[in-house]
């Protein structure tokens, strides 16, 4: 029986490569029309920008991933435009072009990627506010900026990277607003030696933006996105307490990444709270093996480690699969990957410390700020439910809060509001955020059309 890889990004591509090298023909499922994942997303047919323009410093890596996938394509049962919407023992339920199909597997490697971690603020549901990742996709995959005057708000490596990519592409970057003090303090504290290439690139983007007159504000407290029916301004408070406002027509918002780990959840993989990432991550050993037989994990969907380590983790998980199938394992290759993954973990921890998730900002959200954008539920409604009911009905956790308030029950299933909702709930109940737990995944992991089964 086959090996099924979910996700054709850097992790899935390297996993497929190892499996094919051992003579297997893996199935690779991806919701996108082509391979590459989000970071190395390919532009549609008819677009002509070269890799250097699209991927910058990562052009060689992007090219290598694309060339590897293209070379292997004939040896892969590749299913693009296919949503894996459920995972049962030995079966992945998919839908493609309206056609449902359950794909059996002996082993699966889930390389399901990540999305932006969001902290709501007043006005964040206005047209013109997008995630940082979304702003990047608009530029990479469509050649479009999200607006004529764009502010970048949040924290994390993506903040400076996307602002830089926008400015380079000719967009007007009105401001970069970082909730941390990365550019001034962290860069010095962590320095080049400990942070590796990621820090060097980050410092380059900051220096470039400054040299081109892009205003960068650090240690900001975001206040509001203003506008009637669309974005017209963004305001913040600086470290000295002075309020600022700038006229913009679009805002890119993001506070690091969180794993898209719903399929691992449905597979029954236990989750642990990772205090460094400040994320819930599915449990796996360093080889990508989970406590659930036949289920393996790699890439950012199993904990945020970035694209380079996603490649290594994908290959490593594939070797684990080969071992599980009783096939030969190249001990030298495995040792090299293990060393790379171990070294990368230290860099990653330094990066997370440089861009800490501003949990207090989420916890302190104003009562009238919309928390759940699907159903327009405010932070105050969640606090009221917490105070009235949850405090007296143990366990006071997010799934109970979801039942009472519908926060996390909308169409995005809590992908967007879940992280902030947990902070609001935990602070209201005066407990550590890990004690309120995480929203459980539910099939289908994304909305799918329900059609009556055809008569045989």
């Amino acid at each position: 029986m086959s090996v099924v890889i979910v996700g054709a990004g850097p992790a899935g591509t390297r996993a497929a490569e190892v499996l094919i090298g051992a003579g297997l023909r893996p199935t690779v499922i991806d919701e996108a029309p082509d391979n590459g994942g989000r970071i190395y997303q390919r532009q549609p047919a008819g677009f002509h920008r070269v890799a250097r323009v699209l991927y910058g410093f990562e052009a060689d890596k992007a090219r290598a991933i694309h060339e590897t996938f293209d070379r292997l394509r004939a040896s892969i049962d590749f299913r693009p435009r296919t949503l894996a919407w459920n995972l049962r023992p030995g079966l992945i339920d998919t839908i493609c072009d309206g056609k449902a199909r359950a794909i059996p597997f002996a082993q699966t490697i889930l390389c399901t990627g990540a999305m932006d971690r969001v902290i709501p603020l007043p006005g964040w549901t206005l047209p013109g506010v997008f995630t940082l990742g979304g702003a990047q996709i608009s530029l990479k995959a469509q050649g479009c900026a999200i607006g004529a005057r764009v502010a970048f708000l949040g924290t994390g490596p993506l903040l400076y990277l996307v602002a830089y990519q926008y400015a380079r592409a000719g967009a007007h970057v009105a401001a970069v607003l970082d909730t941390t003090a990365f550019a001034r303090k962290a860069a010095q504290a962590f320095g080049l030696a400990r942070g590796g290439a990621t820090f060097v690139k980050g410092l380059y983007y900051i220096a470039w933006l400054r040299a081109h007159g892009v205003p960068i504000a650090e240690s900001v407290t975001p206040l509001a996105i203003g506008g009637e029916g669309q974005v017209q301004s963004v305001s913040w408070r600086d470290a000295r307490g002075t309020t600022h406002e700038v006229a913009v027509d679009a805002v890119a918002l993001g506070f690091g990444l969180r794993p898209e780990a719903q399929l691992a959840d449905l597979a029954g993989v236990p989750f642990d709270f990772d205090p460094v990432q400040h994320n819930w991550v599915p449990r796996k050993d360093p080889s990508g093996k989970t406590p659930v037989a036949g289920v393996f994990l790699a890439g950012d969907g199993s904990g945020i480690r970035g694209a380079d380590l996603a490649e290594a983790a994908g290959a490593r998980a594939a070797w684990s699969v080969l071992a599980a199938r009783g096939l030969a394992v190249d001990a030298g290759a495995v040792a090299r990957l293990d060393a790379q993954l171990a070294a990368g973990a230290a860099f990653r921890a330094a990066l997370e410390r440089a861009f800490p998730f501003p949990a207090k900002l989420a916890a302190g959200m104003a009562d009238d700020t919309i928390l759940c954008r699907c159903e327009a539920i405010t932070a105050g409604e969640l606090r009221a439910a917490a105070n009235e009911t949850l405090a007296t009905l143990p366990p006071p956790e997010v799934n109970r809060a979801k039942a009472l308030t519908r926060v996390g029950m909308g169409r995005c299933q809590g992908r967007v509001c879940g992280a902030a909702a947990a902070e609001v709930l935990a602070s209201t109940l005066s407990c550590p955020v890990e004690e309120v737990g995480r929203l459980r995944g539910q099939p289908p992991v994304k909305p799918i059309p329900i059609l009556p089964a055809e008569a045989a």
């Binding site: 979304g134 469509q142 029916g229 954008r373 992908r415 967007v416 994304k446």
Partner: protein, 94 residues
């Protein structure tokens, strides 16, 4: 807010209609790009929070749903525009 085309503008034109109004886009545009380069929103929130124009652009937030004749409800961010598509945004609030 309008999406601003910065590159790749030498693609063939595609025509479609939005709420019955004739519109032009470029081959390779997503429905989201096709609409938001010409107009400011995609849908209206059912719970009174006004107009929405998508958010994540990666198929996760489900906040870019529009109706396409013959296909029903689709995510604008991950649906390519095709010639003659008839797109509707449902109830338009003032």
């Amino acid at each position: 807010m309008r999406l601003q085309r910065l590159a790749e503008t030498d693609r063939p034109a595609v025509s479609f209609t939005l709420d019955g109004r004739p519109m032009a886009a470029l081959e390779g545009d997503s429905l989201l790009t096709a609409i938001l380069t010409e107009d400011t929103y995609l849908r209206t929130n059912e719970f009174g929070d006004g107009r929405r124009a998508g958010f994540c652009l990666m198929g996760a937030c489900q906040d870019c749903w529009v109706s396409v004749e013959g296909s029903g409800r689709v995510r604008a961010c991950s649906t390519p525009i095709t010639e003659g598509m008839r797109v509707s945004r449902g109830t338009v609030q003032p």
